[in-house]
């Protein structure tokens, strides 16, 4: 039986609905030793800002049951190096590239988005609004609906490529934030970013992370992510890229059925570099086994 695995996000066609989550895969340079990047629906790059960022002190990570906490602090080499090295590297692969963008202020986001405007290899932009806003005492941009609508509008105005707003789950009602991003003109949503957590090292009687708090990711957060994707899919019309703890085809299928048009595999890449291929092959096998000709039939099929 012929099978369609391709999906479309904001007018961009992906060969399959599976990509890698920002920050867990670099720009694919290192992982290209283990898998052919051309098999992926898209590569989502590590967050990049207009200038280099140092990131946080170490320890930056710690393991937790079926998950991990990270406080990398968005270390990145800045847009110039990223374009010259990482985007040039990605030219050789037949996949889509989603550039994840971070900033400390609206101007920094806008400057970075403008710098990427002429870059043909950047197919879509994903805006990480979990970054600390230096003007607002370090509170993340993504926590207040009005602020989210405002920053989405500004970025949308400056951007050439379609804009995906990546939502923080650390809010009371994520559907309010999703609706605000849609009202601001977002072309799609990515969710969820990490859940803020803390681990204490009882032997040393101090925080396990130098930053004290960190973002929880991995299988431990998967049910929370599925719930949030499902809620937002009921509320907004724009497509959603679902992520949070996906480690198998079954996890990815749950996300699609909850209403995501595509999915990202993040922390699971650390346990096995080829997880993302197993997810792609597993979805394809599920379609075959169930006599489904088009993966799009699954999107939002559970209401």
């Amino acid at each position: 039986m012929s099978q369609n695995m391709s999906v479309s996000i904001a007018g961009v066609t992906l060969k399959n609905p599976v990509m890698v989550a920002s920050g867990t895969f670099g720009s694919g340079i290192e992982f290209s030793r283990f898998l052919d990047l051309s098999r992926l629906g898209a590569v989502v790059t590590k967050g990049v800002a207009i200038t280099p960022w140092e990131g946080n002190a170490t320890p930056r990570i710690c393991e937790t049951p079926s998950g991990m906490l990270n406080a990398i602090g968005l270390q990145n080499p800045g847009a110039e190096t990223f374009i010259k090295r990482d985007l040039r590297f990605l030219e050789q692969f037949d996949t889509k590239v989603i550039v994840n963008v971070c900033g400390h202020s609206a101007e920094e986001y806008v400057d970075c988005v403008r710098r990427l405007a002429d870059e043909k290899r950047a197919d879509l932009l994903e805006i990480n609004i979990s970054c600390p806003n230096v003007r607002e005492g370090g509170i993340a941009f993504g926590t207040d609906p009005k602020g989210v609508e405002r920053i989405t509008k500004e970025i949308r105005k400056a951007a050439v490529q379609p804009v995906i707003m990546k939502l923080s789950p650390n809010v009371t009602d994520i559907t309010e934030i999703a609706a605000a991003a849609e009202a601001g003109g977002a072309d799609a949503l990515s969710m969820i970013n990490t859940l803020t957590g803390m681990k204490i090292d009882v032997r040393r009687r101090t925080f396990a992370l130098a930053n004290r708090t960190g973002g929880l990711s991995g299988p431990a957060i998967h049910p929370v992510a599925v719930r949030m994707v499902w809620q937002c899919a009921q509320r907004v019309k724009i497509p959603i890229i679902g992520m949070g703890g996906i480690a198998s085809a079954e996890d990815a299928l749950e996300m699609l059925m909850a209403g995501a048009s595509a999915v990202s595999v993040g922390t699971a890449n650390f346990h096995d570099q080829t997880t993302v291929l197993q997810v792609i092959d597993g979805i394809s096998a599920y379609l075959d086994e169930n006599g489904i000709g088009d993966v799009r039939e699954l999107i939002g099929c559970v209401r």
Binding site: G23, T24, F25, G26, I29, E30, F31, R33, F34, K46, P52, W53, E54, G55, T58, P59, R60, I61, C62, E63, P65, S66, G67, M68, N70, I72, Q75, P77, G78, T81, G218, P219, A247, T267, A268, N269, F270, H271, D272, Q273, T274
Partner: protein
């Protein structure tokens, strides 16, 4: 880019060397044949609720037979799991990882290898590499520092002179590796070291004062092990070529650094 392999290695045997210290011999396809002294492997837990790999140094590698030896201390749940492996079990590894010690810079010189506690195992493969062949050192001494129980010291004796320091004075010099070095009037041209941070700091300072070249193998928490996630950085003296900030990745630019290259 150097090759890195993900393999399912066969456990050939497990040995208990001292209280909480274990040695595993593994049959690998490519990793043992291609690893260099000072490199490490990522070891994965069978229980996937522990999803991050554990970095463990290459203690010995037999390239002809493809046999890799890892020596580790039970420090938590992951290493506890590895200590229970039996002959015939499988263990997933990624490697070889990291840069390793700069053998060509050590060849023909008076080299001192300093290992503290669980920093001793990687020094064994280095001792072998410098004891003969194209990278033979002109003089080779290993100094091993322990809290109390010794392990692995006899494995070093075919390759070099071995000095011992113990915190409780139960064997060798009472004190640190530096105390043992001073007591034995060692005057190396180069020091290679792996061990706890206070030991590395003391050696860095000692080497700077004496004008001795010094290479340090660092530890940091890792997630990807291959350079993609930026979990494992250390502070560097200069802006790093890859990161464009003063951070270097221990898993990729390291774990071995020139002492003056990094801040400890």
């Amino acid at each position: 880019m150097a090759q890195i392999y993900r393999e399912s290695a066969l456990v050939l045997g497990r040995e208990r060397l001292a209280d909480g210290i274990f040695s595993l011999r593994l049959q690998t396809e490519r990793i043992a044949a291609e690893c260099a002294p000072g490199q490490f492997v990522s070891v994965y837990c069978a229980d996937s609720s522990r999803l991050l790999p554990r970095p463990i140094s290459v203690c010995e590698a037999d390239p002809e037979k493809g046999i890799l030896r890892l020596v580790f201390r039970v420090a938590g749940k992951g290493t506890k799991e590895f200590s229970g492996l039996e002959k015939g079990d499988k263990l997933t590894l990624t490697g070889p990882l990291g840069n390793g010690f700069p053998l060509e810079k050590l060849a023909g010189r008076k080299v001192l290898l300093a290992g503290g506690g669980i920093g001793i195992p990687p020094m064994l493969q280095l001792a072998k590499a410098l004891s003969g062949g194209e990278n033979q050192a002109s003089e080779l001494t290993a100094v091993a520092g322990f809290r109390d129980c010794l392990f692995l010291t006899e494995d070093f004796s075919p390759y070099c002179r071995v000095l011992i320091a113990t915190e409780d004075g139960s064997a060798g010099t009472k004190g640190t590796v530096l105390d043992a070095m001073r007591e034995n009037d060692s005057s190396p041209e180069v020091i290679c070291a792996c061990g706890p941070a206070p030991m590395l700091r003391a050696l860095k300072q000692y080497a700077a004062e004496k004008g001795i070249e010094c290479w340090l193998s660092l530890e940091e928490k890792m997630a990807c092990g291959v350079g993609a996630c930026l979990s494992c950085v250390c502070r560097s003296a200069e802006v790093d070529e890859h990161s464009r900030v003063k951070n270097k990745r221990v898993c990729t630019e390291g774990p071995v650094f020139a002492a003056e290259e990094v801040e400890l």
